[in-house]
């Protein structure tokens, strides 16, 4: 159910944002990165999409600043809203994964809410990232191929594009999910003391903490101050709509369908 929710939110957001930007005369370079950025995983989607839609540095700065600004705002407000309306951990994990605009902030918000919220958010986010090459491909079609704006001699190889943007670490993720599902005695499990998977789980928590310290250290108020222009309005509308619709969706679906099981 979480996967279906992800697909609907990713493509729904990307398509609607790009279409509205086109309709309202927002430059293609900005519309493309805001569609991908608000739809998939924030700054990482902007990094993947900007060379394809040929965004200008000022458009990239506005878009990155906006995503970081609203992502951080959501990080500090959504857990309180979740607690206020008594959302379960799995519901909050799914809500943060579909609504929060940037990966780092969504995982941080879910981690703050609880372990089950984090597991749900991380799993849905992996699905989100897996779909990134398709969103980049959609931007290519929407802004370049469909409108015949491809520069002769500089044609983009679509398969190369998908290959370049494919998150290779996903293969490792699925390999571990597969091995964990086999219940091999040799590898044990996260809850079987002194087994290889138990050790990996213990180490993972440290890597996670170090990784997040690194993210926190690399984002500053000055980065968020770059938010502005039309990107700010687009980001604000997308964040609000995703928050409201995402909350409605997880309330309708209920905890049971969103729960991550295993271990």
């Amino acid at each position: 159910m979480g996967l279906a929710l992800t697909v609907v939110f990713i493509f729904g957001t990307a398509i609607v944002v790009m279409w509205l930007c086109k309709k309202w005369g927002v430059p293609d370079g900005l519309g493309g990165i805001m569609g991908a950025g608000t739809g998939v995983c924030g700054v990482s989607a902007i990094i993947a999409t900007s060379p394809v839609v040929r965004s200008s540095p000022i458009e990239m700065a506005y878009a990155i600043g906006t995503i970081l600004f609203f992502g951080t705002l959501m990080l500090f407000t959504m857990p309180y809203i979740g607690k206020g309306i008594d959302l379960s951990e799995s519901q909050f994990g799914a809500w943060s994964a579909v609504a929060i605009l940037n990966t780092a902030q969504l995982v941080a918000a879910a981690e703050w809410y609880g372990t089950e919220a984090r597991d749900t958010a991380v799993l849905i986010n992996v699905a989100r990232i897996m779909l990134l090459p398709l969103v980049v491909l959609f931007s290519l079609w929407f802004y370049i191929l469909r409108t015949g704006k491809q520069v002769p001699g500089h044609e983009i190889n679509k398969w190369q594009l998908v290959k370049d943007k494919f998150p290779v670490f996903i293969l490792g993720f699925f390999l571990l999910v597969f091995l964990n599902s086999l219940n091999l005695e040799l590898l044990g499990g996260p809850k079987i003391t002194d087994s290889p998977f138990w050790a990996m789980n213990a180490v993972y928590k440290w890597f996670f903490a170090i990784g997040f310290a690194g993210i926190g250290l690399s984002i500053s108020i000055d980065d968020m101050k770059k938010a502005g222009g039309k990107a700010f309005t687009i980001g604000m509308v997308a964040a609000l709509v995703k928050m409201v619709l995402g909350l409605g969706a997880v309330l309708l679906i209920g905890s049971q369908w969103l729960r991550v099981t295993g271990g």
Partner: protein, 155 residues
């Protein structure tokens, strides 16, 4: 006399260049334009889960270089039209820090920058670079706004 003019290709910095050229010819003075390439965008290449990092870095570099070349071309054109020797310098880094470093090294008699009319949010966002420069440069700073007519250039 040495004049250093900060230039980023925006309309207000073009007004600053016009004033610098005018002063350069009238005084006369040696005018150098400084363009700072801000690599801020590059720091995001290693964002969590980002894909296509190499292409992104190449693309950002391409864009920044192209912008610098365009700024230089426009500056050269403006100097040529007025008959002033075009001196152009590029630095890489955080603009405020790089401008102050250039001021420290070159010791110009006058620093000229463009200035936008900003609202409170705009001033907060931009950090109001010209005003901060005026406080920190330790020499005369002339801020040129595109709002209104520059009385020195009006003929």
């Amino acid at each position: 006399m040495k004049i250093l003019v900060c230039i980023d290709g925006e309309p207000h910095s073009k007004s600053a260049v016009q004033r610098a050229i005018f002063l350069g010819l009238s005084l006369p003075a040696e005018v150098t334009a400084l363009h700072v390439i801000d690599p801020w965008l590059k720091k995001f290449y290693n964002e969590l889960y980002s894909q296509g990092r190499k292409r992104y870095l190449e693309y950002v570099e391409e864009c920044l270089q192209a912008a610098a070349e365009q700024v230089q071309e426009e500056y050269n054109g403006m100097c040529l039209a007025e008959g002033l020797e075009a001196r152009f310098k590029v630095r890489h880094g955080e603009p405020m820090k790089e401008i102050l470093e250039e001021v420290r090294q070159v010791a110009p008699d006058l620093l000229i920058t463009g200035s936008k009319q900003l609202n409170a949010w705009g001033r907060f966002r931009s950090g109001n670079l010209p005003l901060r420069l005026r406080k920190k440069a330790g020499r005369q700073v002339l801020m040129i706004s595109i709002q209104g007519t520059d009385p020195l250039l009006a003929k």
